[in-house]
């Protein structure tokens, strides 16, 4: 029998009416002859509200207790969704992350799944029941409750789809699929029918907010076909899968942006081996998540190293860099929190030279100054001033002719 894993995000189960609509869809899928496992996030803004409570009682909430707290959110939504499904005449059983066999490491707040022990889920599905699993959570090897970090419900869904050999993993959300740009910013943005795992990875990594990065990595590693679609229209959305060489490849899949980072530059670094290693090892030890890294060509035995970090980590990053700048024999450190990153992503870039040149021309024509550049075989990212981000995205989307129709 076909097995479908369906994941419903917070907006999809935001209130009792939405939960009933989701129950209708799950029951319809079951009655069409498929086994259904649903993965659910916390309702609406529940996770944010719980987090607020934590900061109301403690300035630095214990990571273990924060996980205990936040996992209450999905517990509520799985129970309510099961009740609504049972009300419609189908069998349904809810599972916490622990009951579903999601075994993680002990890193509270962003645990990694180390194993999925899906026996209980398999039995439930084999008995004809719909299984409803709490996303975002697991149980650690030391029997504590853990969470997988924001976007973790996508990872739960893809991991369960992989473990159970599901035929598809449907990610239901409040947008209709993956678009060539954020439709709120670029109304003419076009929905993509399919993208490859690699493109989706770069879209997610550069600010496409539809799928969490880790879930895409998981899907690619375990070859899980992912279908991103809307729980408001229930229309087909975007399939994420293997690259398909038989299909004519669009050159560019999309334009993305991100305004959550800050840029740090170490100025006048001696150009000799080991300096970069030293710098980024120290930052890694402090749990700073460095994203883009650019090192300029050396001049007079000195170079500048620039990198971006989440803006929330900027203060911590400056503390680290200010401490080791002397050690590195560098001239100084500067930073700029008022930046944004604009990226274009597309597997077709590999065989279409000149895309980078086009991107730089478009930005120049818009008088946008490029502060950093970083490229991969299917992505080009430029750091620009924050105020230039939206204009850059619109201009690139237009110039690359990504509009609908």
């Amino acid at each position: 029998m076909t097995l479908v894993v369906q994941k419903y995000g917070g907006t999809s189960v935001a209130d009792p009416d939405r939960i009933k609509a989701v129950a209708d869809h799950i029951v319809a899928t079951r009655r069409s002859g498929a086994e259904v496992l649903a993965v659910v996030s916390a309702m609406g803004r529940t996770t944010d509200e719980l987090e607020q409570l934590a900061f109301d009682v403690s300035s630095t909430p214990s990571a273990r207790e924060l996980d205990m707290l936040l996992t209450a959110g999905e517990r509520i939504s799985i129970a309510l969704l099961c009740m609504a499904i049972i009300d419609r005449g189908e069998h349904a059983v809810s599972f916490t992350g622990s009951q579903a066999g999601i075994l993680t490491d002990t890193t509270h707040g962003r645990a990694k799944i180390v194993e999925v022990r899906a026996e209980r889920l398999r039995e439930t599905l084999a008995a004809g029941s719909i299984a409803v699993v709490a996303g975002f959570q697991g149980v650690s090897t030391s029997s504590d409750v853990t969470t997988l970090g924001r976007g973790g419900s996508d990872t739960t869904a893809v991991a369960l789809a992989a473990a159970l050999g599901a035929d598809a993993c449907e990610i239901y959300t409040d947008v209709a699929g993956v678009f060539t740009a954020d439709p709120r910013l670029v109304p003419a943005a076009r929905r993509l029918d399919r993208v490859s795992y690699e493109e989706m990875l770069d879209l997610a990594a550069t600010g496409g907010r539809v799928l969490a990065l880790r879930s895409v990595e998981f899907a690619r590693n375990y070859h899980v076909p992912v279908h991103v679609r809307s729980s408001f229209t229930w229309e087909p959305g975007t399939w994420v899968g293997e690259e398909d060489p038989s299909m004519e490849q669009a050159i560019i899949s999309g334009v993305t942006y991100d305004v959550t980072e800050a840029k740090v530059t170490i100025v006048g670094v001696p150009d000799r081996p080991g300096i970069a290693a030293r710098l980024f090892r120290t930052l890694a030890d402090e749990n700073v998540n460095v994203d883009m890294i650019v090192q300029n060509v050396s001049s007079a035995g000195q170079t500048d190293i620039s990198f971006t970090v989440p803006r929330d980590d900027l203060a911590r990053t400056r503390k680290v860099t200010d401490t080791i700048v002397e050690d590195l024999e560098a001239r100084g450190v500067t930073h700029d929190a008022d930046i944004g990153r604009v990226s274009i992503v597309g597997a077709g870039m590999k065989t279409n030279p000149g895309i980078a040149a086009t991107m730089f021309e478009v930005l120049a024509h818009e008088s946008v100054n490029i502060e950093m550049i970083s490229t991969s075989s299917i992505r080009i990212s430029c750091v620009v001033a924050a105020r230039d981000v939206e204009r850059s995205v619109r201009a690139l989307h237009r110039a690359l002719q990504l509009e609908a129709g």
Copy 2:
């Protein structure tokens, strides 16, 4: 080392400020040299709100899923309380019912504790940590989440105090202890310094809302000293313990009342063996919780049987009785939902004859008609019209001279 179990009800942890006040008290107790295990209910009206959500998505929520849902409430409060304690410099670890080793039967909604596997709690306390346990919940022998029914957090606290051999079980609530009558109804009501388990059982069974009945049974069976006190004033309250023959016994501990029941009468029942057994077995099979039962003396080979049931069970009860009335060869069934029960409780009654007569005289003097009477060695209960309940309680409290001072 002294071990104190402290239970905090919903009003004691209703908001972040209350949680911080509770954390202060727990930390102070710990620093006074005692080991502390805290049992916590859901914050304020959380349980009611979650229950409302359940009925928003389903007219008859699945019992298993209702337990999954409601247990989210204590999960939130244990995590927040631990954060606040840790913020104050002490170690604290939260435990769900399952993690605390509260093993129950499989009756969702009102599970019974079958075993307490307290190893993990013992280790935590031995390591110098404060243990914070979710009240009201457990895990069933078939690995499902269960709840112990309303008031279940008291039962959790007493059960853990028994299992760990605690020196005292402190029940913190929004009243200052056990009173001779509900202080909202009788402002002159006096706080009792101590009552016996037996008196407390009768007080709880007849409408004293301070302690859940099952927790008192548990405390009596396992000889757990219970201290009921206020988390708002932190003043000493009422100790519940073994009857102490060396102390001069107050004759009456209190006047209680209950207006949640309805009266059902089977009229003209043939007075022969087996009829009552037949009736109440049928009701028990339908899960109707019968409380008072009174059978009048027989006249002309016929008798009337009256009993009270929770008003919520009245419709179900009438369905049962209407079905079997012919079978029982009875003349008919009547019911009255507009009744209340007034009781006086006191171990001293055993050796003080005439208390019942006093009670009936007081009610007669108030022109209150007595519809049913039931007595035990330390309790007398009268069913009266609902509108007469409050007046009866006040008159009895005054006539029995239970006022403060």
